[in-house]
Structure formats: structure tokens, C-alpha cells
């Protein structure tokens, strides 16, 4: 997002703000469900769409977006060769999109299977 500094700054802050409660919720949720069996984990996600499945989906989607734009700044700051920088920007977007898609698909699949 070079030359779009203000929009970048605002997107970074809004996603950060959303991630504060989501991250705190996630740590506490994992305390009770990190050691779940597969059946328990699936029942927990599928059985609580509003309080588990959707916050979890928001955590990974907002999280990967926040990480993509955060890493973008780090790449811009430290990688000076234009070709390499362009390639890393592409890779960053690609990984964030694929990982976000897999996580979202997993949550939906768990909801449908369970």
C-alpha cells in the first residue's frame, strides 16, 4: 500500500482494535479447549455459532489481514531490491489469503460435519 499511508495507518489501527478483545477471548477459550479431543473441539465450535465459530472466524480473518499489512511495512522498511521486495509483497498477500481461506473453510466444514 505504498503511497496510501493514511488508509494503511487507519486499517492497521482498526484491525488492531478489533483484535484486542478477540485475542483475549481466544487465549481464555484455548485454556478450556486447547487439549480437547477432536469430537469435543468440533462440538464446541459447531455448537456455539455466535459465541465461538464467528469470533474464531473473525480472529483469523481480521488477524491475517492485520498481519498482511503489518508485514508489508516491514518488507518496505528492510528490503531495498525492487524485484525481491515485489516478490515478497506477492508472497505475503498469497500466504495471508490462502491461510485465511483454509481457516475459514475449516470452521465452516467443522460446523457442517459436527
Amino acid at each position: 500500500m505504498a503511497k496510501h499511508g493514511t488508509a494503511h495507518f487507519i486499517a492497521q489501527r482498526i484491525t488492531a482494535l478489533a483484535l484486542v478483545p478477540l485475542a483475549i477471548w481466544f487465549v481464555f477459550a484455548l485454556l478450556s479447549h486447547g487439549g480437547d479431543t477432536r469430537a469435543d473441539l468440533m462440538e464446541w465450535i459447531a455448537g456455539h455459532p455466535w459465541s465461538v465459530a464467528i469470533p474464531l472466524a473473525m480472529l483469523v480473518l481480521v488477524g491475517f489481514y492485520h498481519m498482511r499489512i503489518g508485514l508489508e511495512v516491514i518488507i518496505d522498511d528492510y528490503i531495498h531490491k525492487p524485484d525481491l521486495r515485489g516478490m515478497l509483497h506477492f508472497l505475503n498477500t498469497f500466504v495471508a489469503l490462502v491461510a485465511g481461506a483454509i481457516a475459514l473453510w475449516s470452521i465452516i466444514a467443522i460446523t457442517l460435519i459436527a
Binding site: L31, L41, M67, I102, W105, S106
Partner: protein, 132 residues
């Protein structure tokens, strides 16, 4: 670059600056940000394995609860708390407060100590309840 550095000054980098807790928090915010990227991919793999099947989930769970896996998850927990607390510190700056040297130094120590305390508390709870 080598003949250029002999004639023109270059901006000092990490190895030049005297280490302070505020410098530590600044660079560690970026390092933990990158670590969380990797950690969230671990979360994605965990969810995908649960969606895939019993065998896939058992494999991932075995790797994550191995001694090496637990060390990685402990590091992930600390990275999350550090980035969370230091991110809140950035919000306070965004609102226009906490810029004095004592305040920024104090909040930096608060982030370091707070993130360590919260990480230890979470993992103490994990082991006491036998969660993992």
C-alpha cells in the same frame, strides 16, 4: 557499499545504538508480529486438521503437545501477550499520551513484565488443569 561507507556516513543500525528497554520493545513488536504470523498458521493447521479427520487431528495434536511443540506454543503465547500489550501502548501514544522518557520507559518495562507474567499464568493454568 564498502567504498561508499568509507566516504559517506550511513545511518546507524541496531548494533550501533545503546540498548534500552524502549528500543527492545520497538524491535520486539516487529519480531513478535512476524512470529504471530507463523503462530496463526499453526492455528490454521490445527483447525484444518480437525476439519479433515481423526488421523490428521491426532498427528497435529501429537506434534503440538510434544516437548518441542509446547516450547513453540509457549513462545506463541508470549509473542501474543507482548504484541497485545505493546499494541495497547501504541494506542495510548496514538491518543497523545505517554511520550515523556519516564512514561515510555515505565510502560516499556510494564509490557515486558506484564507479558511474561501473563504467559506464565496461562501456562501454569494449563498444567494445573491438565489441559494439554
Amino acid at each position: 557499499m564498502s567504498d561508499q561507507s568509507a566516504s559517506t556516513p550511513l545511518s546507524p543500525h541496531l548494533q550501533i545504538w545503546r540498548w534500552t528497554v524502549t528500543l527492545f520493545c520497538s524491535i520486539t513488536h516487529r519480531v513478535t508480529g512476524m512470529a504471530l504470523y507463523a503462530g496463526t498458521i499453526l492455528l490454521t493447521i490445527w483447525l484444518a486438521s480437525a476439519a479433515t479427520g481423526e488421523a490428521a487431528f491426532a498427528t497435529v495434536q501429537a506434534i503440538y503437545t510434544s516437548p518441542f511443540g509446547l516450547i513453540v506454543l509457549f513462545g506463541y503465547t508470549w509473542a501474543l501477550f507482548f504484541h497485545l500489550l505493546n499494541g495497547i501502548r501504541h494506542f495510548v501514544w496514538d491518543a497523545g499520551y505517554g511520550f515523556s522518557i519516564p512514561a515510555s520507559r515505565g510502560s516499556a518495562w510494564g509490557v515486558v513484565g506484564g507479558s511474561l507474567a501473563l504467559t506464565i499464568a496461562v501456562w501454569a493454568a494449563v498444567f494445573m488443569t491438565g489441559g494439554n
